[in-house]
């Protein structure tokens, strides 16, 4: 986008509008063009040229950012103050001098305009460096030896139990049965017996499912599992006398698929 501004010299000067992102940038351009020092600004000339630029934008139907308008007002304010007699200005001494304020802000802006140029040079100088892509090395995790104590673990378990009891407001044995339930399910016992039959052809029920060594639920589930297997003709059960041990003998290999079937049946029970 190009804007034509006619100068006093009648030399048409082409200004790229997007050159001026903000009012300070425009002001700097005008100061440079007029070879004016920041400390010695001819406000009349600068304000006129500034306004001329804005009206040029207006003619082109461009949106003028509010920052430009605020600066225009500031310039006009400074200009009007300078028309007042010195006496009047002195009476208003309390009010900060808007021209001085403008100069301070312009100086501050100029600092960073310079810094921006320095950065630009540096970037130009260093953009020719090439870097190497990192090799794809996987990180190895190494856990530091943080000693953990059994009592922490026990505490956690005790806490859980307490919380569970409080929550369910039931007998504390419930957590045990809940925990044991999965382990002592008929399904798990079926698996255990299948495993057992891999090693031997028969076993004594009471000796294997010894109530003195095992949880009551464990033994009951084991018994149910044996009954299931008998139902599917996978084992035979023999007991000589009423108080003798039951001998469970394998009739047929229990195949995995069958076991699944039996288990599904037993889940329904």
């Amino acid at each position: 986008m190009i804007l034509q501004v006619s100068e006093q010299t009648d030399n048409p000067v082409l200004l790229k509008l997007n050159n001026f992102e903000g009012p300070f940038e425009l002001l700097f351009h005008l100061l440079e063009k007029n070879e004016m020092d920041i400390y010695d600004i001819d406000i009349n000339a600068i304000a006129d040229q500034y306004l001329e630029y804005l009206s040029g934008m207006e003619r082109l139907d461009l949106d003028i950012a509010s920052e430009f308008l605020v600066m225009a007002a500031t310039l006009l304010h400074i200009k009007s103050r300078m028309l007042l007699p010195d006496k009047k200005v002195q009476e208003d001494e309390e009010e900060p001098d808007p021209k001085e304020e403008l100069v301070i802000r312009l100086l501050e802006y100029k600092k960073y305009k310079t810094a921006a140029e320095i950065l630009k040079d540096k970037e130009e100088k260093w953009k020719d460096c090439f870097y190497k892509v990192p090799e794809a090395v996987e990180y190895r995790r190494e856990y530091e030896n943080t000693p953990m104590s059994i009592s922490d673990l026990a505490d956690a378990y005790r806490y859980l139990h307490q919380a569970f009891v409080n929550k369910s407001n039931k007998n504390r044995k419930n957590i045990v049965s809940l925990l044991k339930h999965e382990l002592y399910s008929v399904k798990n016992k079926l698996k255990e017996i299948t495993e057992l039959f891999r090693r031997k052809k028969e076993f004594n029920f009471n000796r294997t499912f010894d109530l003195r060594k095992r949880h009551r639920l464990d033994v009951i589930s084991g018994f149910l599992a044996v009954l299931e297997l008998a139902k599917f003709h996978k084992v035979t059960l023999n007991q000589r006398n009423i108080n003798d041990d039951i001998i469970v003998r394998k009739v047929d290999d229990i195949k995995l698929t069958e076991l699944k079937e039996i288990m599904e049946e037993s889940t329904e029970v």
């Binding site: 995790r141 673990l153 956690a156 378990y157 806490y159 139990h161 076991l259």
Partner: protein, 177 residues
């Protein structure tokens, strides 16, 4: 005309950036020199890189050249790729671990039933730390994964076997006091 040292520098820069094997023909094309001259320079560079203060070596692979690090420094290089993880376990992870230790093998569903909250992240963390592992699947609808503790778990807690855990009954009686 480029002097030999500058050519060596240029070749080093090219091989550094390229990473992959770079054909001799490409190098010659970039420098604007014939293959036999560049070849001679590459040969003398190879010798230079064998000095102990060089960590990279120049390799010739067919008609291409490539940098790689020296084998003898590999153990040091691999040390920068170690993540030290010292974080202690969260309460949630401790609870989950306790449930598994006392009931293994056990499913996530059981853990969550006891804890009353979702335990995905605890289980994941314990798996990552190699304190638990998968122990097959439960023969039940959905075939949920079973978890059990590892040898690393025993090592971390100074146990020789799970039997050394305080028995559940004594734990439960403890809170009667």
């Amino acid at each position: 005309m480029l002097d030999q040292k500058t050519i060596e520098g240029i070749i080093e820069a090219m091989l550094f950036v390229h990473g992959d094997p770079l054909p001799l023909s490409k190098i010659c094309e970039a420098i604007g020199m014939d293959e036999s001259s560049v070849y001679a320079i590459l040969e003398s560079m190879m010798k230079k890189y064998s000095a102990s203060d060089r960590g990279i070596q120049l390799r010739k692979i067919k008609d291409s050249y490539q940098f790689c690090t020296k084998q003898e420094y590999a153990s040091y290089v691999s040390k920068i790729y170690v993540k030290h993880i010292s974080q202690t376990l969260s309460n949630a992870a401790f609870e989950t671990l306790a449930i598994i230790a006392y009931n293994e093998p056990v499913t996530k569903a059981t853990i969550e039933q006891i804890r009353g909250v979702s335990s995905d992240s605890s289980v994941t963390k314990l798996l990552e730390r190699n304190l638990i592992r998968e122990a097959g699947k439960l023969d039940a609808p959905g075939r949920p994964v079973l978890y059990e503790t590892t040898e690393e778990f025993l090592r971390c807690f100074g146990l020789s076997s799970l039997d050394e855990l305080p028995p559940v009954d004594t734990l439960l009686n403890a809170d009667k006091k």
